[in-house]
Amino acid sequence: MKVHKSLYLFLIPGFFLYFTFFIVPTLGAFFYSITDWDGVNQQFNFVGLFNYTSLLTDDTVFITSINNNLKFLLFVVFFQTLLSLIFALILMKNTKTNIFYRALFFFPTILSSVSVAFIWSFIYAPDLGLLNPLLQSIGLGMLTQSWLGNPDIAIFSIAFVQVWFHTGQVMVIFIAGLQNVPKELYEAAIVDGANKWQRFTKITWPLIAPATTIVVGYTTIQSFKAFDLIFAMTGGGPAYSTEILATFIYNSAFSNYQFGYASAASVVLMVIVAGLTLVQFRLVNRNKVEY
């Protein structure tokens, strides 16, 4: 098919924006990561790999934030995937009630992170809140907590909110995957006398593997993007217990004016995300099942 030269004109606005506001800054992160730029002055010095060595060997807050990111990620990926799969299995048929529940579960996704952060800050509040009085009233008073104030559990309290926030969203991905599984397979399996559990493990699970990989990948990337929620709920505290890489980068740059240093942390984040994305792509390709 012939393509007219004028076709390339269509790329101009996109290229212009993408180059200016995405490609230049992304490459810029590498450049600034070897400087001591403070974000304010025009001059800066090249410091080689100094930022990287200090990050990885001296900076306990940075190591803590990677650690917290990992805790947050594992909690969210595990519970969000499990819950969304369970709800997708329960609600996959297009009945009126199911469509209502899907719409309800999806609802939190349309709220802003700031709104969600405020709602849950109130629920978790030790004196005014909702959760502690609720626990007391059902006789579980010994479980009452300062949910966001206790450094040992604050990150998990926020991870729970993330799960509440996005389970309905990934459930929709699973429902689409489940509805694509050919019905004849189940009918044949029932004829062959397979029970529910066997039908799940032998048909459903392998055939929705691509959806599962996508959900896990999407949830993983989302956990790295949880900046808004954490920023509005705790800002990384108490005692850095909810600091993740994204808030670490923000705080190093805009609270401590260490733009070069924060850029080095950005590059580390980029490497981690790129690595995880590649792993996900390989899994998606490997998990493609023909039927």
Binding site: M1, H4, S6, L7, F10, P13, G14, L17, Y18, T20, F21, F22, P25, T26, L27, G28, A29, G39, F87, I90, L91, Y101, A103, L104, F105, F106, P108, T109, I110, L111, S112, V114, S115, F118, I119, F122, L128, G129, W164, V172, I173, A176, T213, I214, Y218, F224, K225, F227, L245, I249, Y250, A253, F259, A262, S263, S266, L269, M270, V273, V284
Partner: protein, 271 residues
Amino acid sequence: MTSRLVKFILVAVFGLIIIIPVTMVVLTTVKTSEDFYMNPIGIPNSFTMQNMIQLFIGNHIHLNLLNSLIVTISTVFLCLLVASFISYVIMRLKGWRSLLLFGLFILGMFLPAQVNMIPLYGVVNALGLNNSLFGLILISTTSFMSVVVFIVAGFMKTIPKSLIEASVVDGASEWQIYRKVVMPLSAPSIATAAIFVSVMVWNDLLYPLLFIVSPEKKTLPLALLDFQGEYFTNYPMIFSGVIIASIPMIIVYLFMQRYFMEGITAGSNKG
């Protein structure tokens, strides 16, 4: 029978964990602050619209609402225009050129914004776009362009080539093919992408936080964030803000639910 009961309980519990907080937010907004501190979680003993009114008179929240509308509508419009151009080229080209463009333009989808926000801050300052809604619109357009290319280019690939070929034979220009053939056929994916992007732009905190300083230019999420410092535990005020920030999206959601859900499937699922 027991399995049906277990299913019902699971769904009901999760449903309640959504319904209870939302109801609580609505009930809290009509409480006076005295009533709220006496009775933070119970049924209101008072009914006042003063909190809402105060947000408009004291906080000028209508300005933030207007800013959010301007930024969201402009970004969605620009983003769809620019990304549909790119998607059109990706569809028209063949082989490695098409793949390379696709790969390049969807890269932005995978990287968290925090990865390049620091140099971006430098770029925006250098261009004098700091503290301007126009700058914010350009940055948001770029940031959400990738996911729109992903959704729309994926959809355009399914348009029968014969339709395009017929137009080429008839001597249609690229612009005419884009405008008269490809865009009308891509309408469903454009609608899906529009909804998907408007939710993300409407709710975005990071870019306004980085680039908007003046109170009268702040978008709703950013203005809302300031409430923490201004109202502390005065939740009747804070939740009134939450309601105002959420209502426009809730209205759209009630009418166009299907597109919200298609967006997430299309935006994540093409493997």
